[in-house]
């Protein structure tokens, strides 16, 4: 820990926050993004700060976010765009085109992959996108490297005139550690560049596009030379040649040194902080020094393929150990245990069977009780799901006859018990398109699509436009809670004006009506009867494009402002413990007194009354947000909703 400067303040930051601080240090002017685990904390950090000379926003989607950043960078400023891996799929259409044009100001795309899938979605390897668009990609192995490499990325971007990727993974993005953080630098005071150069900024014709393609490849070559000069990919050769070498790309190198602690042999190491372009010169040095190479990288074997191709090209006779020979896995995070196993195989030690993770069931011991996640207490979506179920029944259908498509965000929790309603989850906005496919498939029952407000703004609107144009019969339910909630409560176009920080709310109802479906019915999902009626009316018009807009603010956000809808009380004398309330709503605020007698504060839940030991339903006041949905399912009127005057 020596050599720490007394003037530079240390802070506890996550990898995401380190990217944000590094971008400030690099004098970034415009930062955009769309929330998505594990990348969210980067833009969150910047939005929590007072940055009068910069623009920071949550954009409508990643494509828009990237276009904004690119425009600012074309005008000469430094710009950063942040997203999760699946967001890159959305941004990519614009991104590959802008890659061909290059950039003026530094343009950095921060993308966070999720090997091991901590937050759902496809376990994709974003390095593939960098390779396809011929853009350099830097890969920090720790928050400290993230802080340094985002600054390097801006320098590289301007040095070669190319957008640059900074890729992190969950283990880097979400890890907290202490870092020395330098003072931010203000954005450069420049006159914005206002160029007319159709050969560079348009795709007008084959000659232009092919010239751009050649320029793109030349920029990648320049990036390789620049990275070599800056020594971002370093070979540390073992004193004696002829032994084992390790090529470690990005996040895995953080685990490598720990794995080597218990490893006796000398090892040469190429630690690659840049994965695209492949560090061929440095890799050649490693090959020439070693007889066996272990390639460590998470997800796809990109570096391994490049290394095998290089070895073949230079006639290297040794052995390469990695994923293509089945030694290491192509899924999940790469752990210390995985690396130890790879090292053992590479040096020809008898490959010890990997120590099995203890299997509780196999041992016959106790297993943890399943704990499927459900919507929070008071979540307005609970009312909407219950109303969809009731309306399906009212319209004379069985739940298993009806296709209800799901979408990204909290709304997908309708797939879980007690609702078990949604059947699929694809990508932002896909519920609307998938539903239309089912509508054309000849199902006997109506098709229902469900989507949240932010997801609808992000990617759902084109799907609805299509349904309206082609008169596709379906009912779209928009569950509007006013926030991008799943990722930790970010502002979206439909969030109330009070939270828009200088922006303004886009009226979702007017958007829906403006598109012109056959009907738009607006309901409060806490009003189960009205919501059920609106849905039943829609299902009663199976030839129409129906939209039900269920509007009620996220209960967690409402509570944070002190706006609780009420309180639910239990009359212990009336409760017969039929558990209907629990069974139907699955609300986490409901419990059974014998089972949950002691709450987290060690106190008996609920009012004790005269019979503390008789089992009955109890309501946890610390969780209940007073939606009152449970009240309507109580056959003995033991539950009642109290509203504060």
């Amino acid at each position: 820990m020596g050599g720490r400067s007394a003037e530079v303040p240390r802070r506890i930051v996550t990898g995401n926050e380190a990217v944000a601080w590094g971008a400030l240090r690099a004098g970034v002017r415009v930062v955009t993004g769309y929330p998505g685990t594990p990348s969210t904390g980067c833009v969150e950090q910047l939005l929590s700060m007072d940055l009068p000379d910069r623009h920071v926003e949550w954009s409508t989607n990643e494509k828009v976010a990237f276009e904004i950043a690119a425009g600012a960078a074309w005008a000469g400023h430094r710009a950063l765009c942040a997203m999760k891996m699946t967001g890159l799929n959305v941004a990519y259409d614009a991104l590959i085109s802008i890659a061909y044009s290059g950039t003026n100001g530094g343009l950095v795309v921060y993308v966070a992959d999720d090997p091991g899938v901590s937050a759902g979605m496809a376990e994709q390897d974003s390095r593939g996108f960098a390779r396809m668009s011929c853009l350099p990609m830097l890969e920090p192995a720790s928050p400290a490297e993230a802080y340094a490499l985002v600054q390097t990325a801006f320098e590289l971007s301007e040095a070669v005139g190319s957008p640059v990727f900074l890729r992190s993974t969950t283990a880097v993005a979400l890890t907290h550690t202490a870092l020395e953080i330098d003072e931010p630098r203000p954005p450069r005071a420049i006159e914005p560049i206002l160029e007319r150069d159709i050969a560079r900024y348009t795709k007008a014709g084959a000659a232009i596009c092919q010239a751009q393609h050649r320029d793109l490849l030349a920029r990648l070559d320049r990036a390789e030379a620049w990275l070599r000069e800056k020594r971002l990919n370093r070979v540390a050769p073992a004193p004696r040649p002829g032994g084992l070498g390790v090529l470690a790309v990005g996040a895995v190198s953080a685990c490598l040194y720990e794995a080597l602690e218990a490893f006796a042999d000398e090892v040469s190491i190429l630690k690659a902080e840049a994965s695209v372009p492949f560090p061929a010169e440095e890799a050649k040095k490693l090959l020439e020094h070693c007889t066996t190479i272990l390639v460590l990288e998470e997800l796809d074997p990109y570096a391994e393929r490049d290394l095998r191709a290089l070895a073949q090209r230079i006639g290297w006779p040794g052995r390469i150990v990695g994923k293509q020979d089945g030694i290491l896995a192509r899924t999940g995070e790469c752990s210390v245990d995985d690396i130890v196993r790879g090292l053992q195989v590479a040096v020809g030690a008898v490959p010890e069977p990997r120590e099995a993770v203890p299997d509780r069931e196999a041992e016959g011991g106790a297993t943890a009780a399943p704990r499927p996640i459900t919507v929070c207490a008071g979540c307005p979506h609970r009312g909407t799901y219950l109303a969809i179920e009731a309306a399906i029944e009212k319209a004379g259908f069985a739940k298993d006859e009806v296709m209800v498509t799901g979408d990204i965000g909290c709304t997908i929790l309708g797939m879980n018990p007690p609702f078990d309603l949604l059947r699929n989850e694809v990508s932002m906005g896909s519920s609307v398109g998938i539903a239309q496919g089912y509508a054309h498939a000849g199902l006997k029952a109506p098709v229902i699509a469900t989507i949240g407000d932010s997801t609808f703004f992000h990617g759902g609107i084109p799907g609805l436009v299509n349904a309206i144009q082609h008169r596709v019969p379906l009912t779209l339910v928009v569950l509007d809670n006013g926030w991008t909630a799943m990722t930790g409560m970010q502002v979206n176009p439909g969030t109330a004006d009070a939270h828009q920080a200088g922006g303004r709310r886009v009226d979702l109802e007017r958007v829906l009506r403006g598109l012109g479906p056959n009907r738009v019915l607006v309901v409060d999902p806490y009003d189960l009867e009205a919501t059920t009626d609106a849905l039943a009316e829609s299902l009663g018009h199976p030839e129409d494009v129906n939209v039900v807009l269920a509007q009620r603010e996220c209960a967690i956000q409402a509570r944070r402002r002190g706006a609780v809808a009420g309180r639910v009380a239990v009359d212990p004398e009336k409760c017969v413990l039929c558990k209907r309330c629990l069974q139907i709503t699955g609300c986490p605020a409901l419990g059974v007194s014998t089972a949950r007698a002691v709450d987290t504060n060690g106190e008996l839940r609920g009012g004790i009354g005269g019979s503390p030991h008789r089992a009955r339903i109890v309501v946890d006041p610390a969780l209940c947000n007073g939606c009152g949905l449970c009240v309507s399912f109580c056959p003995t009127s033991a539950l009642s909703k109290e509203v504060d005057a």
Partner: protein, 201 residues
């Protein structure tokens, strides 16, 4: 002194707060630390796991299987999900709070009994410290925060005892909740005394 800790429990129990407080205490005491919380998707009521590594500069945030010196479970059933991290010579600290999932309350799923869980812990780890929520002390008639009590209990366990100075934790606690200093210090010390007593048995 190095110390690797895995914390498990249910969102809303203050599991992540324990990790955050220790991280900040380590920061104040100039001890290298990394803290990687992985949350469930729900705001409250989902499984939560966090990894805290103290004392080492150049390691990744993930603790190897069977590599944790200390596994802390804040909820009986979820503690089972943390046991794969426990080192054979390590300690498992179980705060035996029961938070039954809905499926259990409805009779659809089984919930493990205390003895079974304790037996399983003893099968993988050298030492079990079992804290009964019923023993939570009261300060001025109010029950103390269970997570601060558990944090106190953790501080008596080696190698955390040697890795992070107790007064750094006390300072961080006071900074976090300036209005609850007395109650939190009482909770911390009660937890510490409780688990220290366990050692002597």
């Amino acid at each position: 002194m190095n110390c690797d800790i895995v914390l498990v429990g249910v969102g809303g129990q203050g599991v992540l707060t324990i990790g955050d407080l220790l991280l900040r205490a380590a920061f104040q005491a100039d001890i290298p630390a990394s803290y990687a919380p992985t949350k469930g998707m729900a705001q409250r009521g989902g499984f939560v796991l966090a990894e805290l590594r103290l004392g080492r500069e150049a390691v990744g945030p993930r603790i190897p299987m069977r590599g944790a010196d200390l596994v802390v479970g804040m909820e009986r059933s979820e503690t089972l999900r943390g046991l794969r991290f426990a080192r054979a010579q390590g300690t498992v600290l179980l705060f035996d709070h029961v938070w039954e999932p809905t499926g259990v309350m409805l009779g659809a799923d089984a919930y493990p009994v205390r003895d079974e869980v304790a037996k399983q812990i003893r099968a993988v780890a050298g030492r079990l410290i079992l804290l009964d929520p019923a023993d939570l002390p009261r300060v001025d008639g109010e029950q103390v925060s269970p997570n601060v009590y558990v944090l106190g209990a953790m501080l008596s366990v080696s190698p955390l005892r040697e890795a992070v100075p107790k007064d750094a934790v006390e300072r961080v606690l006071a900074e976090r909740w300036p209005k609850r200093v007395a109650a939190n210090l009482a909770a911390l010390r009660a937890g510490l005394a409780r688990s220290a007593g366990e050692t002597e048995r």
